[in-house]
Symmetry: T
Subunit: 70 residues, 12 copies
């Protein structure tokens, strides 16, 4: 059978690391969406305060199955 | 009057051809969205099994009218 | 606290100017979404009729807070 | 019927604004070409003199119908 | 001897397939230009009507010999 | 277990269609490589003769498992 | 004689328009740098508040003569 | 006064060097066009024979004044 | 009030991790610049020795306020 | 003396982190290749299962000396 | 007949010029590969010592026939 | 030890060749900066007069050590 996937774009943030920012974005997505399948990083940025990284901000695309459970 | 369009990103798949994968993505979108206006291909990929193309996977952006019927 | 933002892609149009097309896209988004935070221009195009710009069409990405009010 | 469109690339300039530079490019194109259909902005630059913008220079692609009037 | 080639940009359309849209663009080009040598696909889009692909629209660059027959 | 994949870049050609050109590239790769997993299209071009498409030429990246069978 | 130019990257902002944001960036640059020659737009973004554009933010590259007055 | 420029895309070739290939493209353009103003390199390629560079092939965009002599 | 920001490009390095390389770049920037506001990752590379990552090298753009303290 | 380097493209994976995925790709490369010199990240993706990151998948290019030891 | 081509990526270096760096990369490739057909420049860089260019480093993709001699 | 590098962007020009334009940019940079380490070409353009290349203009990024002599 041929699945269709939808891709949404999110920005996750974290004061800790770039990987944590990605995990936070995935965690937010998984609260309302099931069947998440993959993510891809679009951009890594961060907010600076007092010469330090206050928040890592990573833009990700997240793909999930549209049509059916598996 | 000035329309606003929304663009969503989908991945259609097909065991047959790249064009079929696109058509499948459009068909899925048209089940829940009306007033689809255009699509543009973002990426063409595929899944290989036993040295053959098991599924064509084409990422498309699909634009539709947000604000009103016409 | 770590926010997650969602990014959507819209095309605003206007017979007047490129900036108006962007404002129209933002205005449409703000009718259904709260906590809009930023936009970025993806592409500027337009529809021509009789040798003149009939509509400016500007594709923008709009980011908004997903998880909580502030 | 299936149209074919041709795309040409122009740089319009204006001392006034980026939108005017685009309009000037379209106006030049419409003097020799009929059936102009759309434009898309490729690049926005400008020439500076005495610390001010002397000319806005906007590169656009302009599409027009090749094969037939409609 | 050293040839110079010119590249033009066309959009071919077809109600049938993406490959047909490319062939239509090449066919239009060959009506007025000789010595066509190669094409490259720039973008694949399409116009949607009633939830179906009404026209495939493929932008191609077409290269041809400028200076001489061979 | 964590796999490592290798990606190679091929250009497949075909007088028939863009999809056939891709299939030919995959078929060549599968003669010497096992465990092919995916491909992605990098560029679609073609060679023109007498105003017609003599060969479709599609550049693809092909990924396969490096470290082990599964 | 052969000039060398230096290019710097600035983000200008304005509550009024995208063109004003560019002019503000140029005005800031011209306070400390002479011999500004050109600019090119890198990105157009904006900050949203209450569903409206609070600030346009345009990233520009600005080129100026390094080696000598003319 | 505000000029409009047109940009065309050419591929120059040379058995000698990449710079010669560009000069050959410019020379071809100047045979039929006056008021050439600038060029920019789009791509540098070459044709190989017997393990050597038989021809350098450089794609350039060439800009020239459309509307008037100066 | 409308701020202007300047963006500089740095490469931070670290034997430990990609995030550390970014932090080192920010730390260097903060020694001479105040009012750092954001960074964005441009490229992640690394130097290999004896089959291991000797140094992570991450290119970042760093934005800071030009015109005034806040 | 003038070295020539070869660049290969790999995808490393890891259940732990993006940096580990890169290290795994390098480790695989170093099993069969000597004189690895640098890597650059091409893309960061991941596979999701049950709303969590099951595998980080990072595409890297790895450069190594072709012609001689040093 | 339909050929399949393989593309490899090399970095040639030379203390003399960018063109020499490309020729050195081609020369290295031709020592082990026959049927080289074309190259395309991916990136031009260089190593600086004492304020001078110590080595030009040019990344090229080189295409060659996979399946058969002609 | 972990170095931090700064990258600046310059445009060198030369009436002679593209390589000379790069060398001129490096020469200008080395008058005020020590510890230059590498450059990378961003864009190659030129100014045309009377159908000939009056100046080659090459944009380069130049990297140098920020934190310490070596």
């Amino acid at each position: 059978m041929s699945h269709t996937y939808k891709i949404i774009e999110l920005v996750g943030s974290s004061p800790i690391s770039s990987d944590e920012a990605i995990k936070n974005a995935i965690a937010s997505a998984s609260q309302s969406l099931h069947h998440l399948r993959w993510f891809q990083v679009v951009e890594t940025r961060g907010h600076l305060e007092e010469g330090l990284i206050a928040h890592w901000q990573v833009t990700v695309k997240v793909g999930f199955t549209l049509d059916s459970p598996d």
